[in-house]
């Protein structure tokens, strides 16, 4: 008897048998599988009480109501507000991902000052004192007018406070961002007599003709437009899209007319020609409620016969004639313009031609037509500002951007001209610039020129929430609360058919040491003293907002989140217009009888044409896309870091480019490396580029991805209004 190898083998076998009959292996296997589902480094959201808050989205002018779900103090979901007159529970991708903006690591967390090129935190008192000292000095030197401002919107109390501060202080140079609403509003003023905003009754139209408007690509109020277009399909209303590229909107249309870009105004005038020459217009409207019809008719009949229009637009004569007839014979036809999302105002010629097209069919103020909407809800009036002598004198100065001046008397704001004015050294140089609710370095065309112009301004103050391109160039940042942390009224226009104002409320307490921009304005004004302080007697922004809205609206707004003017009724054309003659005044023929705004650039060096295109998957304006949007941007738009441009296979063959090939895109304004995507849905000779990429700032999910359209396309002053009428630019594309 001895202990050998077999004994130990036997021990092992015994142990294995014993273990198998014990719970150990089975329990470990089970626990390991559970362990893999519960790795301690996997974040688990804490549980808590669910709180729902009603608020308003402020990320685009669409005016959606939002329902924000919180678990204890944390925002976890943003959805559309059910029952809201604009979006009734729906919400776009940007609104849905807005919680990522609130919790973005690129929020500006405290007031900061740039010292030797680096940001240094300072106190609010020091930040505000720096501004007021500077403003007081400039006023004493008689340079009040050299204080300028670029702000996001015209309506709402924050914008009203900015206007009031500039008036009381004495500077005419407050500029706000412009859009297609400005071009429309000017046309409505010229033809109907008051500067109102357009409302479009898509819900009752039976024939919609869109001149390049991205009706489901973010034009107007996006969620409402999705619904309206879906509803039109159910009603079997016809929808015709005129656009050089097969956009999502064009793809959903009943008829797509791939027009030569920039000639939309000519097509509208060609259609007017068909309607006039075949007497298809609303006779009673023309005979009883119009002025200047004969001159206008003569001009159109002489200059825009369909044969000539066909040549210029690339659309067949028969198609133009048929479209003109069909449009005029429809019961409730509606024509709209404003390219893409309508971020660029567009030319007076185009907007006026489209408006006249509507007018001739007798749809103004009618069901399914174009309505004249008030420029905002009625608020409690503020006492009139009494500018002191210094301010009164400074206000006599001409605006730097030329708006309201000799050259462009009709324009309200022309921020797109600012860079050019500063860079050519015209006018007194701006000494102090406020940037609030805007990101001009990213959104204004011709980025290089804008950067150069801003660099020439000695002191720039930004009120940004996130470190965007303009904030990066500023000298001082007074960070505003994020829109989910602040009170603000949001009057909505966006082509809706009833006046609506939403109320944004703080759904969470401010996370950082930020201040409401309204409170900053009031604090600055009160520190400036005398008459300026007198004009700002409110204790804080919330008091101001509450008083301005009035008790009734405030109560309704805090309860429901929105207020609709139930009494508003559109005025049908039969009841006359607001103009002095109470008639519709046809636009001056001279303003329409000229070639349309063309793409700038030498045709030999730049044989192609670059156009920008908008999409619901990217935010193209001042707000940078949150990471979720970059996730849903397809590879045919952004491939890793590379911007992908769209060209027709025929163009690609000419250039020797294949799908996915690298190329260099160049325009008179800039150049950059891109990849190409071939698509039959774009006219040959065109290059399409997505708007909303190429950010230099913001977070790592957005910065450095793709290229910014504004770095390639420069502004073109519309000869009739001064508004930016650029729709593209000459370009070249070559193998890299």
């Amino acid at each position: 008897m001895k202990i050998d190898r077999r004994c130990f083998l036997s021990l092992g076998i015994g142990a294995a048998a014993g273990i198998t009959l014990s719970p150990l292996p089975w329990k470990i296997t089970d626990d390991l599988s559970i362990w893999t589902q519960n790795w301690p480094w996997t974040p688990v959201p804490p549980d808590g009480k669910t709180i729902n808050k009603k608020s308003a989205c402020q990320l685009c002018p669409g005016g959606c109501g939002i329902a924000v779900r919180r678990i204890d103090k944390r925002v976890v979901k943003i959805e559309g507000l059910k029952g809201h007159p604009v979006n009734d529970g729906g919400l776009c991708t940007l609104g849905l991902s807005a919680a990522q903006l609130l919790y973005s690591p690129f929020r500006i967390q405290a007031p900061v000052k740039k010292v030797n090129g680096k940001w240094r935190k300072i106190s609010w008192d020091d930040a505000l004192a720096t501004i007021t000292t500077k403003m007081t000095e400039l006023r004493e030197e008689g340079k009040a007018h050299t204080v300028a401002g670029i702000i996001g919107g015209e309506r709402g109390t924050v914008s009203m406070l900015w206007q009031r501060l500039f008036k009381a202080y004495g500077s005419p140079n407050l500029m706000r961002n412009t859009s297609m609403e400005d071009a429309y509003s000017l046309v409505l003023q010229k033809t109907q007599g008051n500067r109102v905003l357009p409302g479009f009754d898509f819900e009752n139209a039976d024939f919609v003709l869109s001149f390049g408007s991205g009706l489901i690509d973010g034009w107007g109020s996006p969620v409402r437009m999705f619904r309206a277009l879906g509803d039109m399909k159910n009603r079997q209303a016809k929808f015709v899209q005129v656009e050089p590229r097969l956009s999502n909107t064009a793809a959903k249309a009943d008829q797509w007319l791939p027009i030569i870009p920039g000639t939309e105004a000519l097509l509208a005038l060609g259609l007017i020609h068909v309607i006039l020459s075949e007497s298809l217009y609303q006779v009673r409207f023309v005979e009883q409620h119009c002025e200047g019809f004969d001159n206008f008719k003569k001009m159109v009949l002489e200059t825009y016969p369909p044969e000539q229009v066909a040549k210029a637009t690339g659309i067949k004569v028969e198609t133009i004639k048929e479209l003109g007839r069909e449009f005029a014979r429809a019961k409730n036809p509606l024509a709209v313009c404003g390219r893409g999302q309508g971020l660029t105002p567009g030319s007076f010629q185009e907007t006026a031609a489209v408006h006249v097209l509507n007018a001739l069919t007798g749809n103004l103020g009618e069901k399914g037509g174009v309505l004249a909407m008030p420029a905002g809800p009625e608020y409690e009036e503020w006492p009139e500002v009494e500018p002191d002598d210094v301010a009164a004198e400074a206000l006599q100065q001409k605006r730097l951007d030329g708006a309201g001046g000799d050259e462009f008397p009709d324009a309200g704001d022309l921020p797109t001209r600012l860079a050019q004015v500063i860079n050519t050294g015209k006018g007194d140089g701006i000494q102090l610039l406020f940037i609030s609710g805007a990101n001009p370095v990213y959104t204004l065309p011709d980025t290089k020129a804008v950067q150069k112009a801003l660099a020439a301004i000695p002191f720039k103050v930004s009120f940004a929430t996130h470190m965007d391109e303009s904030a990066e160039m500023a000298d001082l940042i007074l960070p505003n609360h994020c829109f989910l942390e602040r009170y603000e009224d949001v009057p909505v226009a966006a082509g809706l058919t009833s006046p609506i104002v939403n109320l944004a409320v703080p759904v969470v307490k401010p996370m950082y040491n930020t201040k409401h921009v309204g409170d900053s304005i009031i604090a600055i004004a009160q520190a400036l003293g005398d008459e300026i302080a007198d004009a700002f007697s409110w204790e804080n922004y919330k008091t101001c907002l509450k008083e301005t809205l009035g008790d009734e609206k405030w109560e309704k707004l805090t309860e429901e989140g929105y207020w609709v003017d139930e009494e508003f009724k559109p005025v049908p054309w039969k009841e006359g217009f607001k103009s002095a003659a109470t008639k519709f005044i046809f636009p001056d023929p001279a303003r329409l009888n000229h070639p349309p705004v063309s793409a700038s650039g030498d045709a030999k060096q730049f044989p192609l044409t670059l156009i920008a295109c908008d999409s619901m998957r990217l935010a193209g304006g001042a707000v940078g896309s949150p990471p979720f949007l970059i996730k849903i941007t397809p590879d045919s738009v952004l491939l890793k870091e590379d911007l992908v441009v769209e060209i027709n296979p025929a163009t690609a063959a000419d250039l020797g480019l294949k799908e996915g090939a690298q190329a260099v895109l160049a325009t008179p304004k800039g150049s950059g490396r891109v990849r190409v995507h071939l698509d039959h849905g774009i006219r040959p000779g065109l290059v399409a580029m997505a708007r909303g990429l190429g950010h230099g700032a913001h977070d790592k999910y957005l910065a450095g991805k793709g290229l910014n359209t504004n770095a390639f396309i420069g502004p073109v002053d519309d000869p009739d209004s001064g508004y930016d009428a650029a729709w593209g630019i000459s370009a070249s594309l070559a193998k890299a």
Partner: protein
């Protein structure tokens, strides 16, 4: 069993002999057989001890709660049973373990003279810190469970799943599974639980236990509301 084993080995040895192998080797096998068997038994017995007794104790670490809590005492003070503190919110969601805000109404100052009360008031109430209770019934985060569906709609008693914790005068030791991080109450405390046998519903709360009860009560392993059977009914 051991006899049969020996016989087998003997037979094997004889076969070897028949094949012309050495007689000695057969004797060695027979001689060594006792040890082989002994070692087998030792290995077998030792691993059974390890698997059944040592391993379950090693798997769990014993953790104490921040301080003790007397459920029975509180039950005497409230009117609405368990739901007085473990209530349903207005929207139907379940509040779970009470937050500090619910306790401070009575416990702003030290009540009575227990040390646990002193710890509670001084460490948590006065510092406004939430008590980091270890929750015996915490399920993995991916498990969806609606208290409202079971308590309000199916009219189930708290005791059915949670046992008689409401009558306890002190909190049991929290045994944490070192691998999964979950309480032993989910997996069961007793040996019979490990053998998939259990006496009370509350003894174990794993996935099979959900299914078993659903099958018993409704005749199918589905959600009562959605009547759907599939992973995503519970795993969200």
């Amino acid at each position: 069993m051991s006899t049969a084993d020996d016989n087998e080995r003997e037979v094997h040895g004889q076969e070897t002999d028949a094949d012309g192998g050495g007689h000695d080797s057969g004797t060695t096998v027979r001689e060594g057989g006792g040890f082989v068997l002994l070692f087998f038994i030792i290995g077998f017995a030792a691993s059974l001890v390890v698997g059944w007794l040592i391993f379950p104790n090693l798997l769990y670490s014993q953790k104490k709660q921040p301080f003790d809590f007397n459920h029975a005492l509180h039950m005497g003070e409230v009117d609405n049973g368990c739901e007085s503190c473990h209530f349903f919110r207005e929207d139907g969601t379940y509040s779970g373990v009470p937050k500090l805000a619910q306790c401070v109404a009575c416990h702003e100052d030290v009540q009575g003279d227990t040390q646990d009360e002193t710890i509670f008031v001084e460490k948590y109430v006065s510092k406004k810190r939430e008590v980091p209770w270890r929750v015996y019934s915490r399920q993995p985060d991916c498990v969806f469970f609606s208290h409202a569906a079971h308590v309000k709609m199916a009219k189930m008693d708290c005791v059915t799943c949670h046992g008689h914790i409401g009558e306890s005068t002190s909190l049991p030791v929290y045994e944490e599974n070192r691998l999964t991080g979950y309480s032993r109450d989910i997996e069961g405390h007793h040996l019979e639980n490990l053998l998939c046998l259990k006496k009370n519903t509350a003894d174990r709360m794993k996935m099979d236990d959900c299914a078993e009860c659903h099958l018993e009560k409704t005749g199918r392993k589905t959600s009562v509301q959605t009547e759907k059977d599939g992973c995503f009914v519970c795993h969200k």
